[in-house]
Symmetry: D2
Subunit: 346 residues, 4 copies
Amino acid sequence: MTRGLAVGLAGLGRMGRIHAENLAARCASAHLACVFDADPVVAAAVAERLDVPWTASYDGLLDACAAVAVATSTGSHADLAVAAAEAGRHVFCEKPISLDRAAALTTVHAAARAGIVFQVGFHRRFDPDWVAANERIQAGELGEVTFFRTSLRDMNPPDPAYLTGSGGFFVDVTVHDLDVARWMVGEVVEVTAHGAASDPAFAAIGDIDTAVVVLRFAGGALGVIDNSRSARYGYECSTEVMGSLATARIDAPRRRGYEWRTPGLASHDLPRDFEERYPQAYAAEVEGFARCVLDGTAPRVTGLDALAAFDLAMAADVSWRTGRSVALTPRPTATGVVYETEEVPA
Amino acid sequence: MTRGLAVGLAGLGRMGRIHAENLAARCASAHLACVFDADPVVAAAVAERLDVPWTASYDGLLDACAAVAVATSTGSHADLAVAAAEAGRHVFCEKPISLDRAAALTTVHAAARAGIVFQVGFHRRFDPDWVAANERIQAGELGEVTFFRTSLRDMNPPDPAYLTGSGGFFVDVTVHDLDVARWMVGEVVEVTAHGAASDPAFAAIGDIDTAVVVLRFAGGALGVIDNSRSARYGYECSTEVMGSLATARIDAPRRRGYEWRTPGLASHDLPRDFEERYPQAYAAEVEGFARCVLDGTAPRVTGLDALAAFDLAMAADVSWRTGRSVALTPRPTATGVVYETEEVPA
Amino acid sequence: MTRGLAVGLAGLGRMGRIHAENLAARCASAHLACVFDADPVVAAAVAERLDVPWTASYDGLLDACAAVAVATSTGSHADLAVAAAEAGRHVFCEKPISLDRAAALTTVHAAARAGIVFQVGFHRRFDPDWVAANERIQAGELGEVTFFRTSLRDMNPPDPAYLTGSGGFFVDVTVHDLDVARWMVGEVVEVTAHGAASDPAFAAIGDIDTAVVVLRFAGGALGVIDNSRSARYGYECSTEVMGSLATARIDAPRRRGYEWRTPGLASHDLPRDFEERYPQAYAAEVEGFARCVLDGTAPRVTGLDALAAFDLAMAADVSWRTGRSVALTPRPTATGVVYETEEVPA
Amino acid sequence: MTRGLAVGLAGLGRMGRIHAENLAARCASAHLACVFDADPVVAAAVAERLDVPWTASYDGLLDACAAVAVATSTGSHADLAVAAAEAGRHVFCEKPISLDRAAALTTVHAAARAGIVFQVGFHRRFDPDWVAANERIQAGELGEVTFFRTSLRDMNPPDPAYLTGSGGFFVDVTVHDLDVARWMVGEVVEVTAHGAASDPAFAAIGDIDTAVVVLRFAGGALGVIDNSRSARYGYECSTEVMGSLATARIDAPRRRGYEWRTPGLASHDLPRDFEERYPQAYAAEVEGFARCVLDGTAPRVTGLDALAAFDLAMAADVSWRTGRSVALTPRPTATGVVYETEEVPA
């Protein structure tokens, strides 16, 4: 007997392994049907450990499943997702769909044409803390939103090799906060970004490790995002939404629920990375994806959502490079909001 | 393909359903092989919802599994556990094994004779917060323990019908804190209990809903437990261990990691019952049980541990009824500590 | 120009210096008129530092003031207070009035006869945190009180020399929590005390450094106090009052309002002694005393309150020595409640 | 006998009354020698309540004191301060010195020429929380500062009548955070400001009630300030300084140290305005001023500090109005840093 949706997993790097564990043992509505990786040794090892089949070809993976989770390196997301869609497989795709906007758009269209469920991996929309707060916000309990503030900070910078293919700071890091901003507050009409390299290694490659991004929402509210790749004290993700009636502050600064007291000092631990902070969110996003497929409902994070967050991240990138604010025009369509960008005239 | 240990589940009341969900969808090393309940309608409904087989007979359940989880009403725990042991099935048994000490002891012996893994359901030993703190305590980071304090408080009292078969306040509620006391600090040599009925309904049936139990440990430290069936504000479980070098305080007073601010007031939610507080612990205890079976290791909570906690709870009951302290003599044996009780002479 | 009530201060040890600073610079309704100490060198030094007169005789102090604060060593409190009362001076007296109950009672009567304001130094009744919570409790916002818990813990044990004249653990330490119990919840009808010496130095002199005291209130609620002279991590004073409608928890575990984050760890400081924890309470209690004198109102802590807390502490001492609960009969009188003690029959 | 420095107080509005209370009853090194207000009825009433002399003329005030605290309406600060300086009186001046930069500069020069102590009222530099954290930062415990974040939020907007003479949002509100930024992190070389009016009343008068100001420090770090006049939930002032070794977070979100628990909810109070948040800071700043005068030391907030914060606030104002970043050139001088502003070329 197997549970729910048969999901094939492509890509067994860090995110792939998180999804593998969740699909194998923590999802009520899905199971891990097969794993695939460009490196068959990796695939075989994970398969053995989790007691699931593996395959050396992506086609083999598609044959073995009703839905596929794409967690390969970024460059192959779009192609694999399109192939899956064309084969009629539902797709859960890690973010970003592509660093090439045209390829991302092609993927979104392919998924739409195929009529499959296509969900992108913005996990924070599935974290119980954010979900609970946002439910109250969407229900109007905050009144009119007047200010938004969010932080995403990594404890230590990634390996330089990773940075090359990451799409840059805003596309790699800020994009999560931009998605949360849209989810909680609404569409953005202006982005202004500032960056700095606290670590000279970033300056050396023309990149940054710290950023402040100021948002102006269509509803008039201001927002601010701060991001760091080198917060040093730990991994932090916190968000505040201020409204005319109340303010919600989401934060979970403890990993384990105990305090340790030594002479004159009380301390508690901090999460060190996203795996320690978000075990529930990662399990919930694949469970949510399976429920959409099984129930025929729309995913919480669509391809257009991913595209919108990408467009906002690119606008931040342009703003940082030019030192100007970037205006955006979110345009409602039948399937979701599409952003058009125009730079603020000098 | 199925995961790990085939566990049959007997009893589909509140605790049974928690175990069913965890075995069905949240355990890496076990799966739910079959369910059984005295009421076949209940069994069939749960089986359908979770897509697992069910059976109308306990023998049928034993046939379908390598291990059994006993979560029926308390009165049948011992008989079902003994039957399973004699059939060579490993047993996870909800607490208490029995309200009749002789029957509990018989069960422990039957399990030992059969050479099976026998684990009792003290879930707090599997909660990540308690586990993380206790690892540091057992590693000696606190120095010598000088004081122990723990609270277990239910939000609202149970249905009176439940109380009749519960074994009384100390066996039903305090027993959890007594187990934690032994786990974290060590053996207890004196118990003094005080009780009160804040709700007249308890007084009317000669029972209490609030208690303070003072412990004296073999190592010389004092300890204190406070319990309530009617804390009203929520479900709370918190523990403090004070040592000569440090003090550990375990507490998790938020259910969701966000704060809500309204004029002049910041608030956060509180868990309302053990299900809301302990989802991770309940999943971890059945996973831990499966690992013991698969790896051939000893369970974290043995039958003798359950017996010891029961003996301490009965000592508390005697102390409360007589108004005297009760002395105990924990005796090490080859398989664990066994308590002998003697009342303090008047 | 001088502010408000002219207060003479007798005794310039640790508590005396706290009162001196507050009277000299932090009271709106009183000023430090003169200081006296058994050691004239000490008196002269403090006087010079604070720019106030000093005197080498207690009579000289009485001549220089309208009210006196007695903060000498415990043995002389009663005599000095009586002398002041007989001279018509209002008296703020550090606790305890006396370790000899008869002498304490004589003092209370002398104060009553003289018609002066007589206030005893239970500072927690003046701390803004406790006051704010207790106002809501007395207003009935908790509903019926069902449980009370309080801790008073010193970071490090006092000098052994101090212990000799301290009146013992319960009179010296627990008495503060007993006063708070009466203030917040009401009269106590049974006391059961348990003690331990975590530090062998205490055992060597037949004393304890850790205690648990269980209270039964006249209204039926249970209460529990835990005390330590050697908490090691810091000074802590926290109180919880549980009611049928709500629960209040008073705690102020930070000294400075900032958090310090290092890799994987967030920490904040803890107060190290009562001076660090209670600067506001000590200032407020002498200000409150001055207001009573100036406004002709009754003090918040009367001599009978001090006597009641002392009687409860002595009952705890008896209980600890005999291993029995001690029953008490609080008797209302025109001026306040008086306790009569009778041991629980064996 | 009177304490320490004789301070005359000019202006008995909201801030004046806070200083009056502190000088009258909470300063060890100063006393309130005389009060003056444009409205003699107000002066007489305050004088009577605090039992101090009053005068109907500012010259009379100068005659009665060695130092003066200027807390009149903003427009008269500079003239009164200059008059006091020329009379050889030390000056504590509420912020801002003047909304006219030339007048502020004249005042700073007059104070320097007179050789008096001249301190400006940036109270946060005297709050024990900020002071304790900043001591560790200045000692290098954070390592290199990489990011700075601070919030100042009022609960409710001020009366429109007040706004007219306030100098605008950045000069009235942000200026406090700008001073803290310089104090904790160092000089600022670029300011970019964004504003919004969440309350239409502000838009109607061409003003804002919400702002985000991005800073670039001379040392390379980024900083961000968020401000609101209408946070609604309470008054909040919190600051975070992130460094390569540690991160400090200053926050004091509770006014009273107790938690109130009702079914499913735990809550605590929030300060509602700066008076509730900063009683210690306001007392400490006048005490600190008196110590500078008595000890001949330099004040913690000089006239040039006030000028620098004003210049940064004006740069923010320009940035907000033009939509451009404003570059600044902090220039060290013998007596402190002076800012020169140049707009970023379009």
